[in-house]
Symmetry: C2
Subunit: 197 residues, 2 copies
Amino acid sequence: MKSSLLDELIDALRCLPGVGPKSAQRMALHLLERDRPGGERLAAVLQDAMARIGHCKVCRTLTEHELCRVCADPGRQRDVLCVVETPADVLAVEQATGFRGQYHVLLGHLSPLDGIGPEELGLDRLETRLDQGEIREVILATSTTAEGEVTAHYIGELARARGIRSTRIAHGVPLGGELEYVDRGTLSHAFEGRREY
Amino acid sequence: MKSSLLDELIDALRCLPGVGPKSAQRMALHLLERDRPGGERLAAVLQDAMARIGHCKVCRTLTEHELCRVCADPGRQRDVLCVVETPADVLAVEQATGFRGQYHVLLGHLSPLDGIGPEELGLDRLETRLDQGEIREVILATSTTAEGEVTAHYIGELARARGIRSTRIAHGVPLGGELEYVDRGTLSHAFEGRREY
Ligand SMILES: [Zn+2]
Ligand SMILES: [Zn+2]
């Protein structure tokens, strides 16, 4: 039997993380019965976002512009660079700390076993930024997982080779923790407690 | 500061039930970083569903056609009518039982205190269906709340006045339920509704 449009909607909602068949059904019925304007707005914004949001050409975080909000802000410090793994990590640091410098988003981490080396991670872009001479401190804010540590070590060496100070966020972040899921207080303390690397 | 398209997407996702700021952010980043085709499909289906899904002109459940799948199916029994409160209840009955008859969806329940009487609930439509003479049994599958009971009673009287049999779904201990944890009202009903074994 051909599936109904309601069935299609329930199925389409399952692309959202953590949404199983039961919650997808509840979401579809809620929008149809109680919040059509909300559903229409979500459809429009979603279409727009999927079509127009790309990566910042400087730091690689998500943005619909050529430069993200941070890179385009003339009021931020230009001599401190915070290196993180994902755009979610940028949001977490912005929301939890008073950091007012620049970011570099790796969109991953070094993982030799998966064939992800410095080249695959586009570390040449980071080297170019370090070579420009403005940056005086690199904050290594990769995850405290094994891959995150390897990545931090590698980037720390890149900085050292250029005479740039590098610091690692304090191990207030629980071991094996992904930055995105760390509570604000821990993350804020980890920032304040960063040390020479 | 003008909000970014990512902020707008996170905000728009919050129209979904049970989705707070943290999960909305997680959903937005997941779609943007890992499932753009899923996000594009969701946007298209959502737009289509909000624009085209209305109510079946016979039973009032949700459908994009004039008649829903059940009402349009010539293979279903035409002499049994199951009365429920919401389209979600139709899905629940279809998924859980072997019921192969017709439905009538009230889209609510009688609630005199809120000014919802038989007229506001469109019970004239139901009376018209009962008057057509095809229906021989009305299954009262409204909720087992106070309003649901009042509604079931009222519709039972409409059936009785036309010489149509009406039945009420059994109240009792949920399957797999331990007696100790069942509320008193349910247990009391389960006792009253006991049958030969
Ligand atoms: Zn940027
Ligand atoms: Zn119908």
